[in-house]
């Protein structure tokens, strides 16, 4: 019997054994991170939800092709990254603005929350101004906390290339975030 503490490999085996409901465990496990990653990549929570939903369906459909279930997390991020790139490419042709300012917190909230919302808006705009590759590298490293080795599995890029992207992203963000304390 699998549950929320069962390792990925065993859950994958359960799903491949015909228990489709067990896939819900993987969704619960990885949805928060994937939604955060996709939201940062796309700058739009609705588009991010679409990308993550499509990624999970795609992952389910192709689960038998996941060569190493122990690396499921990297595989899911890779699929989601690809879906985000597809969304970005489509958006490019549809003239939809890349970055929309996120909604600020409810005005009734405390000032601190509003200030935090404004800070986040500033950071998100700076992030959206990066190229998709640099944005992805920065988010995977600094937000998702991945090692460069895992980032290489997710993106397919070489580690020196990823380091360069992260470094360049940091430089650009630092220049843009001088107002952020």
């Amino acid at each position: 019997m699998v549950n929320d503490s069962t390792p990925d490999g065993a859950v994958v085996a359960q799903v491949l054994g015909g228990d489709g409901e067990a896939f819900g465990i993987l969704i619960r496990r990885y949805e928060p991170g994937l939604l955060r990653f996709a939201t940062r990549m796309l700058g739009n929570p609705d588009a991010a939800a679409d990308a993550v939903a499509e990624s999970f369906v795609r992952a389910y459909r192709h689960l038998a092709q996941c060569r190493d279930p122990a690396r499921l997390r990297s595989w899911l991020y890779r699929i989601t990254g690809n879906r985000c790139r597809t969304h970005l490419a489509r958006r490019h042709t549809n003239d939809i603005p890349l970055s929309e300012a996120p909604p600020l917190a409810d005005p009734a909230d405390a000032w601190a929350v509003i200030e935090r919302g404004e800070q986040l808006a500033l950071v998100e705009r700076a992030l959206a101004a990066l190229s998709a590759e640099k944005r992805e590298a920065f988010v995977l490293k600094q937000v998702e906390g991945m090692s460069y080795e895992e980032m290489a599995q997710v993106t397919g890029a070489r580690i020196p290339t990823l380091k360069m992207r992260v470094h360049r992203a940091r430089e650009a963000l630092l220049a843009a975030l001088k107002e952020l304390v």
């Binding site: 689960l63 060569r67 690809n82 490419a89 042709t93 290489a152 993106t155 397919g156 890029a157 070489r158």
Partner: protein, 220 residues
């Protein structure tokens, strides 16, 4: 088999090129009436701009066959028109001899739809502006879809081209890279591309390979 042969011959005899107007007439009775005026208008715009109309006709037929609601059907065709415009902008930049060879714009549009960046598409077009772009663009899209870095993917395809691989043989580059990636287990994408580079231009041809080498889930 005489019956089959004769029917096939009939098929061949029917296969003569038709005009854009014929394209629109193919929508008759298949596309919902609510969507027809908008779709006809979009196709007319494409024709007026000397863009290929066949992709838009196909998109309209596809959406209709799938039962897509009229508003989304029109949006899908409109999206196709926007993509063709962007494709032509890229082709105009990358292909010095204008008008560009037939099929370039549609091929570039399809490559963009598969998620290739305009920069990668333009780079690949620039390398071989007068050659049919479909194989190189799809090879690049295959590599990117399998997680290879877009720039590295372009590099290896350009190297393959420079070493004499042309046309469909460029698809073998992507296939070989995917094969190397699977074969290596935990190896990186960069390692796989390096091994493919080392093999160039002597890559195994698809004609002698097993068509599909991976497992796949059942479809139903």
């Amino acid at each position: 088999m005489k019956l089959e042969r004769s029917l096939l011959l009939a098929c061949v005899a029917l296969s003569s090129p038709l005009s854009a107007q014929d394209g629109k007439s193919r929508l008759e009775g298949r596309v919902p009436e609510a969507a027809r005026p908008a779709i006809d208008s979009l196709i007319a715009v494409a024709a007026a701009e000397s863009l290929p109309t066949e992709p838009l006709v196909q998109k309209a037929l596809e959406g209709s066959a799938k039962g897509v609601p009229a508003d989304r059907l029109v949006n899908g065709v409109r999206r196709g028109l926007l993509q063709l415009r962007e494709a032509r902008t890229i082709v105009v930049r990358a292909v010095p001899s204008q008008p560009a060879p037939e099929g370039h714009v549609a091929a570039v549009s399809a490559a963009l739809a598969r998620g290739l960046s305009p920069a990668v598409v333009e780079r690949l077009l620039t390398v071989a502006p007068d050659e049919p772009p479909v194989p190189a663009l799809h090879a690049a899209a295959d590599l990117v879809a399998h997680g290879f870095d877009p720039d590295s993917a372009s590099d290896v395809l350009i190297e393959a081209h420079n070493k004499g691989l042309r046309g469909d043989r460029l698809l073998d580059v992507a296939q070989a890279a995917d094969h190397e990636l699977q074969r290596s287990g935990g190896g990186t994408h960069a390692d796989a591309l390096a091994r493919v580079r080392a093999m160039l231009p002597n890559l195994p041809a698809a004609s002698s390979a097993t068509p599909v080498t991976r497992r796949a889930p059942k479809g139903s």
